[in-house]
């Protein structure tokens, strides 16, 4: 299969080519296609660019290593989003544990200042206070709702795709998205008033 042809292939065809022929070129094209959407998704979920890049790279490594775990019955996009989402949640849990240990050390009068690097690499966000406030509000809503809102309103996936990624019925997905939106709206009331 020529490289020129590969670029015209669908995600599912590419992963199959990678599975069957161990064609790394097919994997490279998948990386090119998904690195930015996944970066955007994970960044909105974690709010930290450095961790986000680590998570997306780990997602791609998992795809590379576990290529045979992919079953052609599912869409490649939902599979890769599921991996990224799970890794992002794990990262969030790890961060919570770290935050807990920092909190405990405060009791010993050793206050550790944890630098907030969330926006450091992304100069565009610094220019927009409104965007920063939206991102902050997004991080304040519960993880379950946040994931759904990001997938729907930022990544613009369909309800069916989100249902496949989360493993939840479409009705539950819709309900969670709306609850998330409501929470977000409450938090952003001040921003919109201005």
């Amino acid at each position: 299969m020529l490289e020129k042809d590969l670029k015209d292939y669908s995600d599912e065809e590419l992963i199959l080519d990678f599975q069957i022929n161990n064609n790394v070129k097919a994997f490279e094209i998948l990386v090119q296609r998904y690195k930015n959407p996944l970066t955007n998704y994970v960044f909105r979920f974690l709010g930290d660019y450095e961790s986000c890049i680590d998570v997306v790279q780990e997602t791609m490594i998992r795809v590379f290593r576990n290529k045979n775990s992919y079953k052609s019955v599912a869409k490649f996009s939902t599979w890769v989003y599921t991996i990224a989402g799970n890794l992002a949640k794990t990262e969030l849990q790890r961060r919570k544990r770290t935050a807990f240990s920092v909190e405990r050390s405060k009791d010993d009068e050793n206050i550790i200042e944890v630098p907030d690097n969330r926006y450091r690499p992304d100069k565009q966000l610094e220019n927009s206070i409104k965007e920063k406030e939206i991102q902050d509000a997004l991080l304040k809503i519960s993880e379950t709702y946040r994931e759904m809102v990001i997938l729907r309103d930022i990544q613009e996936l369909t309800y069916e795709e989100i249902s496949e990624i989360s493993g939840l019925p479409v009705g539950t997905v819709k309900s969670r998205i709306n609850r998330g939106r409501a929470q977000l709206q409450k938090l952003l009331r001040k921003v919109y008033r201005d």
């Binding site: 490279e28 990386v31 090119q32 690195k35 930015n36 996944l38 970066t39 955007n40 960044f43 909105r44 660019y49 986000c52 890049i53 997306v56 790279q57 791609m60 490594i61 590379f64 290593r65 690499p121 992304d122 565009q124 966000l125 927009s128 409104k130 965007e131 939206i134 991102q135 997004l138 809102v149 309103d153 930022i154 613009e156 309900s175 709306n178 939106r181 409501a182 977000l184 709206q185 952003l188 919109y192």
Partner: protein
């Protein structure tokens, strides 16, 4: 969920989410990724062992092994002298009883008197207590007559007899002992009743 819940969502908030700046991966994303994949391949096994030992993954196993080794060191499995008293066959205490009989028979002691002339008296007494002893296992397999026939008088109250190499004792109480026994029995019964 109340009616109008969905309608209360301000469309502008959804729109503002859609308009958020797209965050892209850095330009070095692919090169970093393939470098990681390459190093991961070569270090996969090595990493596992380093992780396993540095994170204390094997700590419980090492602890368990240490306990087992200590146990093996403390226990002397070469010593087979241990025997289950409930599982083993009854062992004759020759050191206690045989000596007595053998000494009687070997004339090291005063020649024991054969109790044949007491036979009728002893048989009578033995038969009197036989029903009460019926529940007990008699290792001798001898009839009362045979027991008495084989018995030696050791003292006024002790008669010894032997069957198939096993020694037994017949103990008869003196009048004083009987009186004392009756007294104790009465006291015990009086206390119980």
């Amino acid at each position: 969920m109340e009616k109008g819940f969905y309608e209360n969502i301000d469309k502008s908030s959804i729109e503002s989410l859609k308009k958020l700046t797209r965050i892209n991966a850095p330009s070095s994303f692919e090169s970093d990724l393939f470098q990681k994949i390459g190093s991961d391949k070569s270090n996969l096994n090595q990493k596992f062992w380093i992780k396993a030992f540095s994170s204390g993954f094997f700590l419980p196993a090492v602890g368990g092994l240490t306990v087992v080794l200590l146990f093996l060191l403390v226990m002397d499995f070469a010593n087979n002298s241990f025997s289950n008293p409930f599982g083993d066959e009854f062992q004759q205490r020759f050191d206690i009883i045989s000596k007595e009989i053998s000494s009687l028979e070997n004339n090291n002691f005063e020649k024991p008197e054969k109790v044949s002339h007491f036979s009728s008296k002893i048989i009578k007494r033995e038969k009197a207590i036989e029903p009460a002893m019926a529940g007990f296992y008699d290792k001798t397999n001898l009839s009362t007559e045979n027991k008495v026939r084989k018995a030696y008088r050791v003292s006024d109250t002790l008669y010894a007899y032997q069957n198939t190499g096993t020694n037994y004792k017949l103990v008869y109480l003196t009048i004083e002992q009987k009186i004392e026994l009756e007294r104790v029995k009465e006291r015990v019964l009086g206390y119980v009743l």
